[in-house]
Structure formats: C-alpha cells, structure tokens
C-alpha cells in the first residue's frame, strides 16, 4: 500500500476560516458598492477621501516581510525570523495608525461619522471591519513574537507560523479589494 498522507489540518482549517471571512467581507463590499452615490446628503467620498498610498505600501510590504520570517524559521534561523516578524508588526501597526489618523481627520475636520450618511455608514463599517482584522492579526503576531523573544519558538513551529501568515496575507489581500472599492471605484 502506498504511503498514507493527508493534508495538514491547520492549513485546511485556516483556508476554511479564510473562506468564511471572505464571505463576510463580500457582503460588506457589496453593501459599499450598492450604496455608492446613494447618500442623500454630503459629504461625498470625492470631497473628503485621500488615497492612503504610504500606509497601503506599509501593509502590502508586511506580506513580504512575514514571508521572509517564515522562510527563515523553516531554515532554522530563529534570530532572522524574530527580526522579520517584528518588522511585520511595525508595518501593520503603521497601517493601523494611518487608519486612525484618517478617521480622526474625517470625524473632526470633515464632520463625517457613521451616522452622517450612507457613505459614512458603509465606509466606517467596511474599513473598520478590515482594521478590526488587522488588529486581531497584530495581537496574534505579537503573541508569537513574545514567545520568540522568550526563546520558545523553534524550527518545528514553522508550519504554525506559516498558518498564521496565511491569515495575514488574507488581511492584506482584503485591503487590495477595499482599496480599489473605496478609494478608486468609490471616488
């Protein structure tokens, strides 16, 4: 009989979670697109939204750094893993700070809240849902980095780190969709 090999349950489980999350985001994206231009009062997206290019670059490059982190761990280089992993956290945190800054600007300078109009409702919900996922991801990444600093992360944990990195890649991929919908199509 040939060798009996089955897929890793962690990877399969994470793909399923990503599918479920993707379905949630799809509904929010559909609501956003459906309500583009349907606000009965201002402000409209083109009046107040600025394209967050720098923070987008931060988040997208964090996908590359986490990839390098996992590759280092596979090669058994825990130091390099920790460095790349921490860099990922910094980039993710920068992105989150960017969102916070943008929201502050919109709320205090432009007077746009979730109650103002349909644009406010859908914008804060969609971007907020994404920011929530970034936050959850950052907490998970921080937990791993804490373990790494305390010296508990070893080469055999590479698959677990990779499973977490799948989630992080997903959060980045969602941002590409949100970016296109909110800052390009929606404006």
């Amino acid at each position: 009989m040939p060798r009996w090999e089955l897929p890793s349950r962690g990877v399969v489980g994470m793909y399923c979670l990503i599918a479920a999350e993707a379905a949630i985001f799809t509904i929010f994206v559909v609501a956003y697109i459906f309500y583009i231009g349907k606000s009965v009062s201002g402000p409209q997206p083109r009046d107040v939204l600025h394209v967050p290019i720098f923070f987008t670059i931060c988040l997208l490059s964090s996908s590359i750094t986490i990839h390098f982190a996992v590759r280092s761990l596979r090669a058994g280089n825990v130091r390099s893993f920790t460095a790349w992993w921490l860099l990922t956290i910094v980039l993710g945190a920068l992105f989150l700070a960017g969102t916070a800054q943008e929201w502050r600007h919109l709320i205090y300078d432009e007077g746009l809240t979730i109650q103002t109009n349909l644009f406010g409702t859908t914008y804060y919900s969609l971007v907020g849902l994404h920011a929530f996922h970034v936050t959850v991801g950052l907490l998970a990444l921080a937990a791993v980095s804490l373990l790494a600093i305390l010296g508990y992360v070893r080469e055999e944990h590479a698959e677990r780190a990779e499973i977490l990195s799948m989630y992080w890649h997903f959060v980045d991929a969602v941002w590409v969709v949100v970016f296109v919908v909110v800052y390009i199509v929606g404006r």
Binding site: R9, V12, L17, I27, Q115
Partner: protein, 556 residues
Amino acid sequence: MATESIAWPVPDAGKPLVEQLHEWVTTVDHKRLGILYIVYALLFLVIGGVEATIMRIQLMRPQNDFVSPQVFNRMFTMHGTTMIFFVAMPLVFGFGNYLIPLMIGARDMAFPRLNAFSFWMTAFGGFLLYFSFVGGDGLYGAGNAPDVGWFAYAPLTSQTFSRGHSTDFWILSLLVSGFGSVGTAINIIATILCMRCPGMTLGRMPLLAWLNLTMAGLVILAVSPLTAAQAMLLIDRYLGAHFFDTQAGGSAVIWMHFFWIFGHPEVYVLVIPAFAFASEIIPVFSRKPIFGYPVMVAATLCIGFIGMSVWAHHMFTVGMGAGANTFFVLSTMAIAVPTGIKIFNWLATMWGGQIHFKAPMLFCAGFLFQFLIAGLTGVMLSVAPFNWQLGNSYFVVAHFHYVIVGGILFTTFGAFYYWFPKMSGRMYNEALGKLHFWLFFIGFHLTFDFMHIPGILGMPRRIYTYEPGRGWELWNVVVTIGAFFQAAAILIFVANLVWSYFKGTLAGSDPWDAWTLEWSTTSPPPSYNFAELPEVKSRRPLWDLKHPEDPDWRYE
C-alpha cells in the same frame, strides 16, 4: 484489519454526580459533544413544539382569543428561529460530530477544543434568545421577546418599530450561534480532509461523510453572510447607521438579499445531512450497497453549488424585474434535477433488495415519499407568476414544513433509531418506535397536507386570527388536530429514548449487520474510538471483514 476494541468500563460508573457533570461540561470528546448537541436540540424541539401548538390552538377557530396578537407574533418568531437555529442546526452538527470521526476511522475531530467552543457558543446563543423573555423589555411597554419574524425584514427591526431589546437579543443570539456553526463547519471539513484512516480515500468514504463535507462548505459560505448582515443591523440599531434605513437612502430589499443569501443555502445545510442519513440507512435495511455512489456524490456537490444561487426565489413578490426573476426561476427549477437523481438512486437501492421495515427504514420510506411532494410544491412555487399568487400564504408554510418536517425531521428520527444502539449501547423499543412513526405520519399528513388548502384559498401566513365564512375553518381544525397527533408522537419518542437508555436490551457492537466503521467498535464506543486505527480497502469495510471470501474491494 484490526478493529477490535478493548472492553472498557463505563467512565461514569460510580463517580459522584458533580464530577460526572463536570466531565460533561469540560469534555472535548466528539461523541460527548455530539450527544450534548443532540440533547440540547431535543430540549429546544419541545420548546419550539409548544410554541407551534400555541399558534395552532389560536388558529383552530375564527376570531379566537387564546393569545393576543402581540404574543402570536412572538410565538411565530420564536418558533421559526428556535426550530432552525437551535433544533435543526444542533441536530445536524450533533450527528455529524458523533458519526464523522467514527465513520472515517478517526479518534476525534481535527480540533477538539474548537469543537467544544462551538457547542458552547451555540448553547449560549439559545440561552440569549430565550433570555429575551426576561430581559427583552428594556423600555416600558416594549415587547419582551423578538416579534419581527424569523427573517426579520427591515424596517420592522429598526429602533423606530422595534423598541426595547427584544430584537437585539435576536441579533446577538444568531451572531453567537453563527460563530459556533462556522467553527463546527471548519472542524468538519478539516476532519474529513485530514483525519481519515489509512485506505479511506475520498472515493471510499461513507456517503454521510461526503454529504457532511458539502454541508460544512455551505455553512461556511452561507452563515458568514448572515453574520455580516446581523453585524450591519447591530450597527444600525446601536450606532445610528443607515444600512437598512430607507429614510436616509438605505434599502430594505438589500436586507432581504443578505438574509436569503443565508436563508436558502440554509435549507440545503439542513437537508443534505438528512440525505446523508437516508443514504446510510436505506442500503443497510435493503441489504444492498447504495446504488450509484459516484452519482450521489456528484448530485450532492451539484445541489450545494446550485443551492448558492437560488436565494431570491424567496423575493419574487418584491418586484425584482424580469431579468432577475427569470434567472432565479430557472436556477430553482434546475436544482430539482440533482435532487431527483438522488431520489431515483435511493429507489434503485431499495429495488430488488430484502427490505426490513424497522423504525429507521419506515422513517426513511416516509421521507422519500414526502420529500418528493415537498420538491414538487417547490417547483410550483419556483414559477414566479404562481408565486405572486401564493407567496406568503399558508401554501408556502405548508411547502417548507413539508421539506423540514416531512424531509429533514423524518430522516432525523430514522437516524435517532438507527444510531441509538451505538450511542447508548442499548436497543430502543421497536413497537414504540413503530407507534411513533405511524402517529407522527398521520399527524404530519393531517397538518401539512391540509395546510396547503387554506393557502390556496387565500389565507396569509402570520395572521393571528381570521373572520368566519371564508372557507378556512374546517381546514384549520384539521391542521390543529394533526398538531396534537404529532405532539403525542414526540412524547412517545422521548419516552422510548429515556426508557430504552435505562432498560433496553443490550445492543452489541453491530445490531444491524451494517457495513461502516462505526459498527466495528463497541457500543457505546470507548473515548479513543478505535484501539488500533482501522485500514480500509473498500466502501464497505465491515462487509469485507465479514465476507473475506467475497470482499467488495475486488469489484471497486
């Protein structure tokens, strides 16, 4: 193949009650969690049944005042929500949890702790829903339980029309139990793909595993949109957003879309496991292997696929326009094709077999006949102009109860009787089982056959009373009488389970002379399921074991 298990003392024996309860609360064993799901569902089945009975008493005669209109609204909302989310879903997950690892030769689910977490989330969701009776009023004079209907159309759910907290309890309870459902679905997929015993290729899995795999995929793709929609509704109600607020340009119709994107696949989430029970029970009691295994798998996947694109047939009366109507008419009709293939396959399995009409088989035979009729009224309702005439009437209520009770509940009763010996180690009482079947069969047909007629005569659903002289009186009396037959049958069923659990004759490991792996271990199985992981060579590993001179793997 080494499947013999070591006899193991019952772990509960002699332990103090507190310790036993503690073990049940903290368990991560898939069999115990499965039983917890099932017992929990039975509890809610009784509650939901009482709510249905209250409605039927109210509607028994015209201008009745058994309950007030407000209470009637709460009853149909709670009945629908309870039966779907806290009876049908937990039953599906309970049997899935219990059976899947045993049938694919695994020692547990892929993520045992996620499994326990998911169960307790579901349990907490049900608790939240019913806590609304106590904590729902929040505001003086506001209603105390959800009364917006189980699909909660906007703007009924807005702060303006739903004061107090009853709707919030409804939202939160569905959100929380939704997390549990998605967690279990992830677990089922990971278990089936990653935990199969050596030799258990996808093509040799019992059909139950294939069908539950499809069901879990549908849960992931369908329950998540509901979670998203509930989050939006919560944002609307608590943060003053405008998703479903028509005065600010929001749309009430988009809630319908979001709800039914969940709501219709949900029907398949429930009925596909029912198909799974039938696909396991019918071959064993016909003494023939299932007819057309690959076609059954293909038809299941096809149903899952098409099932994702039929949701708006719940919305023909909204006025979606000719294009959308045509699409959803055709997709809805298309789904009857793979379903029909399945029915023919079950019939072909029975054809020429030695059919043993034990209680499980009786229920499956009833299912075949009733599900056919449910499917036919479904095709009638899929025709948009026909739907414009009968949408939201008792014809629709009769149709979907035919699916859920006549299809899903019947096979689930069959599954109860079929696997009760495995779960408890004891046989149920066959005479009481048959009495249950016949009483329930008569009650079901009295209620739901005759419920079609007031629908055709124009009786809308969800009315709390009606005037005399419309020709509805007789039918409503018959429908209510049927409800009492069903209630009596359920009492016999529960009594049978309880009595047999303590006094039934010992079942042994394989009372049905069946062919799938769960029957190769003791009844009830030890916590590790299999002392040595089995190795399979065909779709009927126990047949191979019992008939070494003529094993299946020679022909597959």
